[in-house]
Amino acid sequence: MKHAKTATQNACKLCNPLGACLAFRGIENCVPFLHGSQGCATYIRRYLISHYKEPIDIASSNFHEETAVFGGSHNLKIGLKNVSDQYKPEVIGVATTCLSETIGDDVPGILREYKKEFKNGTPMPILIHASTPSYQGSHIDGFHAAVRATVKTLAEKGEEQSLINLFPNMVSPADLRYLKEIFADFKAPVMLLPDYSQTMDGGPWGEYHRIPPGGTPASAIVSAGSAAASIEFGSTLEASKSAAGYLEEAFDVPRYHLSLPIGIKESDKFFSLLETLTGKARPDKYEDERRRLIDAYADGHKYVFEKKVILYGEEDLVVAMTAFLTEIGMTPLLCASGGKSGLLKKRIRELIPTMDELGIKVREGVDFVDIEDEAKILKPDFLIGNSKGYTMSRKNNIPLLRLGFPIHDRFGGQRMHHLGYRGTQELFDRIVNTVIEERQNASSIGYTYM
C-alpha cells in the first residue's frame, strides 16, 4: 500500500557538516571544528569512527542557551583558543551547523576578530570557514563546501607550474592511495585535496598524536592557484560549488571535470586526460591492469549479464556505478540518491544515452523506505550501496553488495577500492562472487567448483 509521505524515513543521506569534517581531516595538521551544539561533533565523530576505525577529534563551540540568544562569537573564540592550545594545529577548519547558521553568526567576521584579538601568544593557525547548514543539501555538499573553502582561503597565484590539482570527491582512503600512486608512476606532481588516506587509515602509534600524521600540507594547497590544470571527479558537482571551479574563475587554472572513474570507459577517460596533461604515455602497469580487467570481464560476463540491480548512494557515485554496471551488461533498474542536485538523471543520460531502453529509472531525494517500496515492485537480484541498505536487504531477502560510505557492518570499508582499473577489478570480482555465492547457497547440490 502506498502512503502519503512527508517525513523522511530511514534517510539515504547525512547532514552537511559531516562531509566538511571528513574533508578537513584530509588537510595536514588540521582540526575540524563545528560551530554549533556539542552533539553534532560527537554524533559525527561516532559515525565516522564506525566506518574508518580511526580516532577523529572534532572540536565544538558547544552552544548554550545564552550563545543561541546573544550569538556564538564568544564561544567560537574560546573554542579556537582552546583547540590552538591543546592541539597546536596548523589549520582549523570551521564548519557551521543549522544552529549557528540560523542565528546568523557572521563567522568570517568572528574569525577576523579572533586573529586580531589573539595575535600575540600562541601561534595563529590558518582558519578556514565553510558554510554548511544542515537544512541544506546533504553530507556531500558539506564535503565540497569545505574543499572549496580551503582552496579559497589558501590558493595563491604564482609562477605557473606543471602541477595538477586533483579533487577526488568523497572516496575511500584506498582510492586516494591509488590516485597518488598513479600520479607518482606518471612522474607528475599532484596536489590532491583532500587526502585523508593516512589520517583516516593510518598505522599504530608509538606515542600519542594530537593530530594523526598525513594529509595535504597547507603549503601545497597554496600552489593550487598556479597549477597547470585541475581535475575534478563527480559528475553532478557544479563549477560554482567546486574547488576547481573557483580556481578556474580566480586564477584561470583550467578545470577538467570527469565522472568518478569507475568502469573501463570512465577510467580510460581519466588516463587519457592524464596523458594529455602530462604529455606522457600511461605506464605499462596500468595497461596491464586494464588488460587483466578486460580479461576478467570476459571470464565473468555470464554471471552478471542482465542481472537486475538497485543502486543507491551519493549522486556522483550512483552515476559512476551506473556507467560501470551497464558496460558489463547489468541492469540498474533504479538509480537512487538521498541527494537532490537536480542533475542526477541528466548526468546518467549523458553517459548512457540508451538509459530509457535499458529501463533505468532515476530518483533523487529519496529515503530507504522509498527505495524499499520500489524494490518490492522491481524485485532486483541485488542491491548495491552502503551499509544502511541492510535493513531492507534483510527484510526483503535481497543480497546487498556494500560499497561507498558508510560501511558500518563489515570490516575494511576504508580499504575498499572503487576507482580506476584496480578499483573496478575489485568491484567486478565482488559482484561476480556475490552472484556465485547466491547460486551456491541456493543450490541443492552444493558444488565446490563454479
Binding site: 502519503a4 509521505k5 512527508t6 517525513a7 523522511t8 524515513q9 530511514n10 534517510a11 543521506k13 547525512l14 547532514c15 557538516p17 559531516l18 571544528f33 554549533g36 551544539s37 556539542q38 552533539g39 560527537t42 554524533y43 565523530r45 561516532r46 559515525y47 569512527i49 564506525s50 580511526e54 580516532p55 577523529i56 577529534d57 572534532i58 572540536a59 565544538s60 558547544n62 548554550h64 542557551e65 550563545t67 543561541a68 567560537l76 574560546i78 573554542g79 579556537l80 583558543k81 582552546n82 592550545d85 591543546q86 543549522c98 544552529l99 540560523t102 547548514p133 544542515s134 537544512y135 541544506q136 546533504s138 598505522g203 599504530p204 602509534w205 606515542e207 600519542y208 598524536h209 594530537r210
Partner: protein, 453 residues
C-alpha cells in the same frame, strides 16, 4: 616524550588520589568547555537514549536530517515484539521550513506516520533549530493526539539547552505523562519497575528472569523492551529499582512524590552488585522471607557455575591495569569491583555526567594514584592511559580507536554492545571480552610494546 598538558579551564575536573594531600572536590555538572572535544553529546542525545528502546512507539525527530540519521538503529536495545524503535523518522527540515516554520510539516508527518505504522504512541523530539524558529510543537502534538486518539508526546530536547542530563529529564518528563494512565488491576503487591535498564543485547530479560524466579512481578521496564501499555501502568508497582541512576533518578523521584513509590539504586554489573540488587529488592518485602530465600538460591546457583569459569581469566589478567571512561559514574563503581574480581586494578576512572556524590564515592573506592576525570576528552584520556600504563580501556565507540592506536585492549561497555554484560552471565561475557582483548597476541606488534613502526 613530550608532556601532554591539560587545558586551563579543565584542571578542576581532574583529580588524582594521593595520600596526605588535601584534596578539593572535583568540579562537575558544568557544560563542556568550548573547543575541548568533549566525549559528550547533547540534550537531544540524552532524551533519545532514554526513550529509544520503547518499541511500539514511533520516534519522530523534528529538525534537519542529521539528528535522526545519526541515531538510526545505533543501539543494541532489542525488542521481543514490535521494532518501530529501529526505524528513523525525521521531518528533515529544509531552508524554507526554517524560514516559514515547520509546524505544518510536523503535523502532516505525524498524521501519516501514525496512519502507516499504527503505533501505540509517538514521541516528538525537538532539535536545536526548533528551539530557535519557535515551532509550537506542544500544540501540534495536542492536535494530533486528539485526532488520532494515541498519546503524542513532545520531548523538549533542543541540543543546546543544557547537557545530556537535561535530555534525560526531558525524556522522563514525557514518560511521566504516560505513567498513571493505565489500569493497575491485578498487579501483585510484590512488584517492581526496572528503571534505567535498556535491554541492550537482551540484558533486561536476564534481570527480569532473576526477579521472576524470586516471585517478584515486574510491571514495567523503563525503557528496555519498552511498551507503552506497560509504562502506563508503572504506577501500580510497589518499588522502583533504578539502574543507570543518571538517567532515571529524576523519574523515580517524581514517581515517589506523585504515587508514593519508593526507589532503590542498583547496578547489574559484576557478581557483587548483581547479587546485591537481588537482595536489596528481597529486603524490601520482609513479610515474605521466601523471596529472600529465592534470591539466595538464584545467587548461589548462578555463582556456583560462574565463579569457577572466571578463574582462567583471573589467572591471566591479575596485575593488569584498566582505564574506565563511560557515560554515567554509577557504572564505574560496579566496573571497579568487577575488574577487581578478575584481578585487575583501575588506574583511571571517569564519566561524562557524574555528579558530586558520585565522584566523592569514586574517590573513596579507588586505589592510591588513580586518576578521576569528569567530562574528559581524547587528549586527556590518552595522556593518562600512557602515564598510568593501562592495559585496557573500557568505554564506547568514540574511545575505542584511542585504545587501539596506543596498542591496548578495549571493552565496549556502551549502548552499541551486542553482547550482554549485565547479570551473572553478563559478568562471564565481560571477563571473556576483557581477556580476549587484553591477552591478544596482536599487541606484540604495537610499537609501544616493542613492535616496530
Amino acid at each position: 616524550m613530550e608532556q601532554i598538558s591539560i587545558l586551563e579551564g579543565r584542571q578542576k575536573q581532574i583529580f588524582e588520589k594521593k595520600k596526605g594531600v588535601p584534596q578539593a572536590d572535583i568540579a562537575c555538572e558544568t557544560s563542556s568547555l568550548s573547543g575541548s572535544v568533549s566525549q559528550r553529546a547533547c540534550v537531544f542525545c540524552g532524551s533519545r537514549v532514554v526513550l529509544y528502546p520503547v518499541a511500539d512507539a514511533i520516534h519522530l525527530v523534528h529538525g534537519p536530517i542529521g539528528c535522526a540519521a545519526y541515531t538510526w538503529d545505533i543501539r543494541g536495545a532489542v525488542s521481543s515484539g514490535p521494532e518501530l524503535h529501529r526505524l528513523s523518522f525525521s521531518t528533515d527540515l529544509q531552508e524554507m521550513d526554517v524560514i516559514y516554520g515547520g509546524e505544518k510539516k510536523l503535523y502532516h508527518s505525524l498524521i501519516e506516520l501514525i496512519e502507516q505504522y499504527k503505533p501505540k504512541a509517538a514521541f516528538i523530539y525537538s532539535t536545536c533549530i526548533v528551539g530557535l524558529i519557535g515551532d509550537d510543537i506542544d500544540a501540534v502534538c495536542k492536535k494530533v493526539a486528539k485526532e488520532t486518539g494515541i498519546p503524542v508526546l513532545p520531548v523538549h530536547s533542543e541540543g543546546f539547552k543544557g547537557t545530556k542530563k537535561d535530555g534525560y529529564k526531558a525524556a522522563c518528563h514525557a514518560l511521566m505523562k504516560l505513567i498513571g494512565t493505565g489500569s493497575t488491576e491485578e498487579i501483585s503487591k510484590y512488584s517492581i519497575n526496572i528503571l534505567g535498564e535498556f535491554n541492550l543485547a537482551g540484558e533486561a530479560w536476564i534481570i527480569r528472569k532473576y526477579y521472576e524466579k524470586m516471585g517478584i512481578e515486574v510491571v514495567a521496564t523503563l525503557t528496555g523492551d519498552g511498551r507503552i501499555d506497560a509504562v502506563r501502568r508503572a504506577h501500580g508497582a510497589t518499588l522502583n529499582v533504578v539502574q543507570c541512576s543518571g538517567s532515571m533518578t529524576w523519574l523515580a523521584k517524581e514517581m515517589e512524590e506523585k504515587y508514593g513509590i519508593p526507589y532503590i539504586r542498583v547496578s547489574y554489573f559484576g557478581i557483587e552488585d548483581m547479587s546485591k540488587s537481588l537482595y536489596d529488592v528481597a529486603k524490601y518485602f520482609p513479610d515474605r522471607p521466601d523471596i529472600m530465600e529465592a534470591a539466595k538460591q538464584v545467587v548461589s546457583e548462578e555463582v556456583k557455575t560462574l565463579y569457577p569459569s572466571l578463574q582462567k581469566f583471573k589467572k591471566a589478567l591479575t596485575g593488569k591495569k584498566a582505564a574506565i571512561y563511560v557515560g554515567g559514574a554509577f557504572k564505574t563503581f560496579s566496573l571497579i569491583k568487577a575488574l577487581r574480581s578478575i584481578g585487575m586494578s583501575v588506574v583511571l576512572a571517569g564519566s561524562q555526567t557524574g555528579d558530586k556524590n558520585d565522584y566523592a564515592r569514586l574517590k573513596e573506592m579507588c586505589d592510591e594514584g588513580t586518576v578521576i576525570v569528569d567530562d574528559s576528552n581524547p587528549v586527556e584520556l590518552s595522556k593518562f592511559i600512557l602515564e598510568k600504563e593501562a592495559d585496557l580501556l573500557i568505554g564506547g565507540v568514540k574511545e575505542r580507536p584511542i585504545a587501539f592506536k596506543l596498542g591496548i585492549g578495549f571493552c565496549d561497555h556502551n549502548h552499541e554492545r551486542k553482547i550482554p554484560l549485565a547479570g551473572f552471565e553478563g559478568m562471564y561475557n565481560f571477563a571473556l571480552e576483557v581477556y580476549q582483548s587484553v591477552m591478544s597476541p596482536v599487541w606484540q606488534f604495537a610499537p609501544r610494546k616493542g613492535g616496530t613502526l
